[in-house]
């Protein structure tokens, strides 16, 4: 145990070291670079696995077991700035996920980037990306988390812009960095504020950490100028960072553009790293997010005692509200417990709703709402996209919305479970899409695919599993269980029912657009033949994916299955996309128990409690309905040629256009924020060059004019007097000279020569 926590830094340290070595490795050593990157990830994975195992069966005094290791980074006299790392279930499960999925993506990259001239650099950036994310996951300090957070940002910048010669890739990289940085500014301010209020940025530090009781009591006691509790304001500022990184509305615009990067990068960004960071951040600072001032808490408590069912967790809830460590998740764990409460107290349900609604912190309400809006908004857009990766990108945005919704409405375990399952099936889908693109010679437009079922059987089978997991096909796919849990939590959310309804709508759309994509890509006949010559070459050219076997296929343009180094990761991920679901079913909520330090064991009975079964049923019906409608439109063949319009487009062209153009958000930003920024920059420059410079010029002219006048005055008035005076002195001097036998002349001549030399020097200097 001690060994694990003391050496946990190796998990991000090894990939970082690999990145450092690869940064100075020359291009030809591509095998070495792949070996180094994958090897470092493999060892990191092993250490993570050991750490994970060591957390099993542990439980701490506060419900959740946790080990921390802190050290002083800056020592400024009596005050220190400390950093540290920690191991708790949340960290352990993220570590295993990131290292494992990351490693598979690295392996896949060997095949995908086989012919890229910059492969060494690619593995360097990948390793840096993974290292930054792993550092973020283990950090026990908001500052260290922020540091890694920014490194994640810069690694994503480097990777999205990896094909830097493509102007669109360079622009997308910049857009990603800047958009996320807008959120980061909020994060930074929130961090500074938290630091200033609590005096520490360590999360857990033997009772002195900023997520522990005494610090939280301080921040909830403070009220800001506008009447908001400091804890809420800080939470919302920190959440800004999560909005940026996790692509929530309104800062989601960078994520689809980030598809300009190589496909393994998209997989890494969308599954294991980058976007997961935002969700993880919210989960990490959850005690702060749900902290509430004691006054509100007291009234809630008073109200709750009315309801006997609620009093059961009252004592724990008190702790929750005063925001103790992590046990609040234990206090109001998964929706099942919430349902128990509701089920038992059904007579007072309305009343219970009311009181519980006030017990939800504003920050969590915002998280839930932002998540809900994002989930539906992005799902709508995904319906009308035609780029295989962009559909997946919008589905990621939408799923991230679901995760946020789960965090807000259901707690850490609910959101995190979806994060983990999503990581596996989204990595699967992206790598599958990469395989499709690879097989079609760089083609990304789903209208020019079709019929790939025959050509790429492995990719088809695994992709189908990923699709069903994402759509949430019942019982056998992980996505069903994790999404169901979120919907369940939303249905029990006391503040509002709308997230539940909107979430159902989002689930419907998800099933619809994923089925649509399957039909386009794998159903019907291959449509890439028509004018394939021009198109394929153009695409592979721009993408710089000059696969060697494209040359072999140049004559036929037949799609082909990808090499084993790419399909094996697909199979592994597909297996996990199915299996993982069984760790978080209502009957056996192992994942929640693990994260919350609870032990509920296996019980089929829980399936029949409260609304559990009903919610499952509703969401299943919704999913099947979505798939059925999509099949109605798109099966057996959506379009016969790439130029035909989409069936939905023919039905509702106006609506389709709005969705295809992503609700014109990019255009809106273009004419508002970006134009404003450019205009302000122009104004600053104009002010500087014209106005202020003009004032300075005028002043200097005034001075020069004055100098000229004073020179005139000097020459005409003063010098006259001076000359006369000089004449008198000269006379006196002559007398003196007579007396001193010419010595004065000697002195004067020396001074004169010196002056002349000086004058010459100066004129020589100025003359050039």
């Amino acid at each position: 145990m001690n060994w694990t926590i003391n050496n946990l830094w190796l998990v991000p340290g090894l990939p970082l070291l690999a990145a450092g070595i690869l940064a100075i490795t020359r291009q030809p050593y591509r095998r070495f670079s792949a070996f180094l990157a994958i090897g470092s990830m493999a060892i990191a994975f092993l250490i993570s696995a050991v750490a994970f195992v060591s957390t099993l069966g542990q439980s701490g005094p506060a419900g959740v077991w946790r080990a921390v290791k802190n050290f002083a980074w800056l020592q400024m006299g009596p005050s220190t700035v400390s950093l540290g790392w920690m191991l708790d279930p949340l960290t352990a499960v993220m570590l295993v996920m990131v290292t494992f999925v990351g490693m598979l993506i690295f392996i896949y990259s060997i095949g995908y980037m086989a012919d890229d001239p910059n492969a060494t650099r690619f593995f360097c950036f990948l390793a840096l990306f993974a290292a930054a994310m792993l550092g973020l996951v283990i950090s026990n300090s908001l500052l260290l988390l922020f540091i890694c957070w920014e490194l994640v940002g810069v690694a994503s910048y480097l990777l999205i812009g990896f094909w830097y010669q493509k102007p669109s890739a360079a622009a997308a990289a910049k857009k990603a960095f800047i958009t996320t940085r807008i959120g980061d500014i909020g994060f930074l301010l929130g961090m500074l504020w938290l630091y200033s209020e609590t005096g520490t940025l360590l999360f857990y530090d033997n009772g002195n950490g900023c997520l522990e009781q005494s610090a939280l009591a301080k921040v909830v006691a403070q009220t800001t100028g506008v009447g908001m509790v400091a804890a809420t304001a800080i939470s919302l500022l920190i959440f800004c960072g999560a909005i940026g990184k996790s692509g929530q509305v309104p800062l989601h615009v960078w994520l689809p553009d980030a598809m300009e990067g190589p496909t393994p990068v998209s997989a890494l960004i969308h599954a294991a790293t980058m976007v997961a960071a935002g969700v993880f951040l919210v989960a990490r600072v959850y005690p702060l997010m749900e902290a509430q001032p004691p006054v509100a808490a007291a009234s809630v408590r008073a109200a709750e005692t009315l309801s006997p069912a609620l009093s059961l967790s009252e004592r724990e809830r008190e702790k929750t509200i005063l925001a103790a460590g992590h046990q609040e998740v234990a206090a109001k764990p998964m929706p099942h417990a919430a349902t128990e409460i509701k089920g038992a107290g059904s007579g007072k349900e309305a009343h219970g709703d009311q009181t519980s609604a006030t017990s939800i912190s504003t920050a969590l309400k915002v998280v839930t709402w932002i998540g809900t809006i994002t989930a539906v908004f992005a799902a709508c857009i995904a319906v009308a996209q035609t780029d295989i990766k962009r559909i997946l990108a919008y589905s990621t945005v939408s799923q991230l919305g679901f995760m946020m919704m789960g965090l807000g409405a259901g707690g850490v375990a609910v959101g995190m479970f979806h994060l983990i399952t999503h990581a596996f099936f989204k990595a699967l889908l992206f790598l599958g899409a990469g395989s499709v693109i690879h097989g079609c010679g760089g083609e990304q437009d789903i209208r020019r695919m079709g019929g790939l079922k025959q050509f790429m059987p492995v990719t088809f089978a695994t992709y189908a599993i990923g699709m069903m997991a994402l759509a949430g096909v019942p019982l056998f796919f992980s996505g069903f269980w994790s999404k169901d849990e979120i919907l369940h939590a939303a249905s029990a959310w006391p503040a509002s029912r709308w997230p539940f309804y909107l979430g159902l709508f989002g689930a419907l759309l998800t099933a619809f657009y994923m089925t649509r994509q399957m039909c386009y890509v794998f159903g019907g006949g291959y449509r890439g033949q028509q004018n394939a010559d021009a198109h394929t070459t153009a695409h592979s050219h721009t993408n710089k994916v000059s696969h060697s076997h494209h040359a072999a296929h140049a004559g036929s343009h037949e799609p082909h299955e990808s090499p084993r180094v790419m399909t094996v990761p697909l199979r592994v991920l597909a297996a996990f996309a199915i299996l993982l679901g069984f760790f978080g079913t209502p009957a056996w909520p192992w994942f929640h128990d693990y994260l919350t330090g609870h032990h509920s064991g296996f019980s089929v009975g829980r399936l029949f409690e409260g609304h559990t079964l009903l919610t499952m049923l509703i969401s299943s019906v919704i999913v099947f309905f979505g798939i059925a409608v999509a099949l109605l439109f798109y099966a057996p063949e959506p379009v016969r040629s790439p130029d035909e319009s989409d069936p939905v487009e023919s039905l509702r062209p106006g609506l389709y256009a709005v969705l295809r153009d992503k609700f014109y958000i990019d255009e809106l930003y273009q004419i508002s924020v970006i134009r404003l920024n450019a205009w302000f920059a122009w104004l600053c420059n104009w002010f500087d060059r014209r106005l202020w410079e003009g004032v300075v010029q005028a002043a200097s002219h005034l001075v020069i004019g004055f100098a000229w006048l004073s020179r005139l005055f000097d020459e005409l008035v003063i010098n006259l007097g001076f000359d006369q005076g000089c004449r008198r002195i000269r006379k006196g001097g002559q007398t003196m000279a007579g007396l001193q036998k010419g010595q004065v002349q000697q002195y004067l001549s020396v001074i004169g020569i010196a002056l002349t030399v000086l004058l010459l020097l100066l004129t020589w200097g100025f003359g050039r």
């Binding site: 400024m76 006299g77 920014e150 812009g161 010669q165 930074l188 302000f680 300075v696």
Partner: protein, 517 residues
């Protein structure tokens, strides 16, 4: 340290070098370059000796040399360094060899050019070590004169007006400061910074001012406000603080790049150094009174300069405005630390954080900005003087090492964690947030805009399709790599382990803070 006048030796070294260089024949170019580099490296070595022998557990002045000079006027020769002075000495001696190497290609009047550079270095080292206004001011002005000639004689097409503007602007500031100090000396009879600060703390300064200037119908407070504003003006021009900045963009862009490195790397620090060393201890009360308007100036400096940088098309002008932006954070930090508070440990800690951040930021900016201007000089050298942001494109393909190393400097300038810029900015913002929350919150806008224009710079110059014109663009040569490598290594070292600098400056910071209240 056994009585050897280390600091005098340190200041004299470049001076002797400069005089020797003046004696060279105009065509002895190679000899002149070698000489200049050698002398600047000797200074670096001496600074290194100081650093190594500096007792960093103390915040006091060390290596002091003190001789009476003109006792009747209160003039002494008094030099010493504390953590702040030492850090600036170190920075100057690191920057000068870089500037000399970046000026290697200068072919006209080489001996004089390098003589002026060494004169400038002497002025810098003197300014950072002198503790009596009299010779401090001589050094302060001494650094101005060589800079003027460097711009005037070796600069770009508009050098004349740039040089004049630079000279007149800084001269106006200097004169205002000189007058203020004459008034102070008249009232108190001393030019000694430490003594003046003591008088200010004990309140004797105010009573002396009332006694001496009673006839003008102004109160002591009004007098100290007037004097404060005059001294502030001197530093504000040098830093610069907006709106006293218009000399800077044209000066930086017209000066030969080696000189720009000196100007931005070392000379701009004189202003920030003055704020901490002179203004804050001697004028705590006026500073506290004028805090809100001054904070506004700092915020405007930070935000406005970043936005103006975004509108520039010339790489040197972009970096010039970015310099204003970075030093704006220093001003913010100093002002926040100058807020009048009680002596609670909480405030002490926040002020110490802000000032530590300011010192780090000064050092970091010197390093990063110098490296960036170095890269611009390499670009200019390859493109016969072109340096427009749109003149290049896609250079990463032909010059990956160039792009990588310059990218590191750009990200350091942007404040990326892991590199040096972040630590300073974080500490300034941390301290300033508690002391002046609204100003800090507004100033963070600058961080965002900085990212926008620096990434645009990278995008335009290095990314996108290769501009065919530069298909023969050479990557960094070995000697060029050697020039920028030390700075790059330092960027990482400070970013990862800032303690190497903090431990030297923190005792000084704590002493300054404890004397503030």
């Amino acid at each position: 340290m056994n009585g050897f006048p280390w600091i005098t030796a340190l200041t004299l070294t470049p001076l002797i070098g400069a005089i020797l260089l003046c004696g060279l024949e105009p065509h002895q170019n190679r000899l002149a370059r070698g000489f200049a580099l050698a002398f600047s490296l000797v200074s670096l070595g001496l600074a290194g000796i100081l650093w190594a022998n500096f007792d960093s557990s103390l915040g006091s002045l060390q290596f002091a040399e003190r001789w009476s000079w003109v006792p009747t006027l209160g003039v002494e020769y008094f030099v010493a360094v504390d953590g702040l002075g030492l850090l600036m000495v170190m920075l100057s001696t690191i920057i000068v060899p870089m500037a000399i190497l970046a000026s290697w290609r200068i072919e006209e009047r080489v001996p004089i050019y390098f003589a002026l550079v060494l004169f400038l270095e002497a002025g810098l080292l003197g300014t950072f070590t002198a503790l009596n206004f009299f010779h401090w001011f001589i050094y302060w002005e001494l650094s101005l004169v060589p800079a003027f000639f460097l711009i005037k004689l070796w600069g770009g097409p508009n050098r004349s007006s740039a040089a004049i503007q630079f000279f007149v602007y800084t001269m106006v500031g200097s004169v205002a400061m000189l007058l203020a100090f004459l008034a102070l000396a008249y009232a108190t009879g001393t030019f000694d910074f430490g003594r003046l600060a003591e008088l200010a703390r004990s309140g004797e300064l105010a009573s002396a001012l009332t006694a001496k200037f009673a006839g003008f119908g102004l109160s002591a407070q009004q007098w100290s406000l007037i004097l404060f504003v005059s001294v502030f003006l001197g530093f504000a021009v040098k830093l610069p603080v907006i709106p006293f900045h218009t000399w800077l963009p044209s000066t930086y862009s017209e000066a030969p790049t080696g000189t720009t490195i000196l100007l931005t790397g070392a000379m701009s620090k004189m202003g920030a150094y003055g704020l901490v060393r002179i203004l804050m201890p001697i004028f705590p009360e006026p500073m506290g009174l004028l805090l809100t308007p001054l904070l506004w100036l700092a915020v405007v400096t930070v935000v406005f300069s970043a936005c103006a940088a975004f509108a520039q098309r010339d790489l040197k002008r972009i970096l010039a405005y970015s310099s204003i932006n970075h030093l704006g954070y220093c001003v913010l930090g100093v002002l926040a630390a100058a807020r009048l508070t009680d002596n609670q440990p909480y405030w002490i800690a926040e002020k110490a954080a802000a000032l530590n951040g300011v010192f780090l930021q000064m050092f970091n900016h010197g390093l990063t900005a110098s490296a960036l201007f170095c890269f611009v000089s390499f670009l200019e050298g390859r493109s016969s003087g072109l340096r427009g942001i749109d003149d290049f494109g896609g250079l990463r393909k032909v010059a990956p090492v160039f792009c990588g190393l310059m990218g590191i400097s750009v990200f350091a300038s942007m404040g990326l964690p892991g590199l040096n810029g972040f630590v300073g900015e974080f500490l300034i913002l941390k301290g300033a947030f508690s002391l002046a929350g609204w100003a800090t919150a507004l100033a963070t806008i600058g961080l965002l805009v900085t990212a926008v224009f620096l990434l645009t710079l990278l995008q335009r110059v290095f990314n996108g399709p290769l501009n065919e014109r530069w298909s023969k663009f050479k990557d960094l040569s070995v000697s060029e790599r050697i020039i920028v490598l030390p700075a790059t290594i330092l960027m990482f070292a400070i970013g990862i382990c800032p303690q190497i600098i903090i431990e030297t400056i923190n005792p000084t910071v704590l002493r300054i803070v404890s004397q503030l209240n």
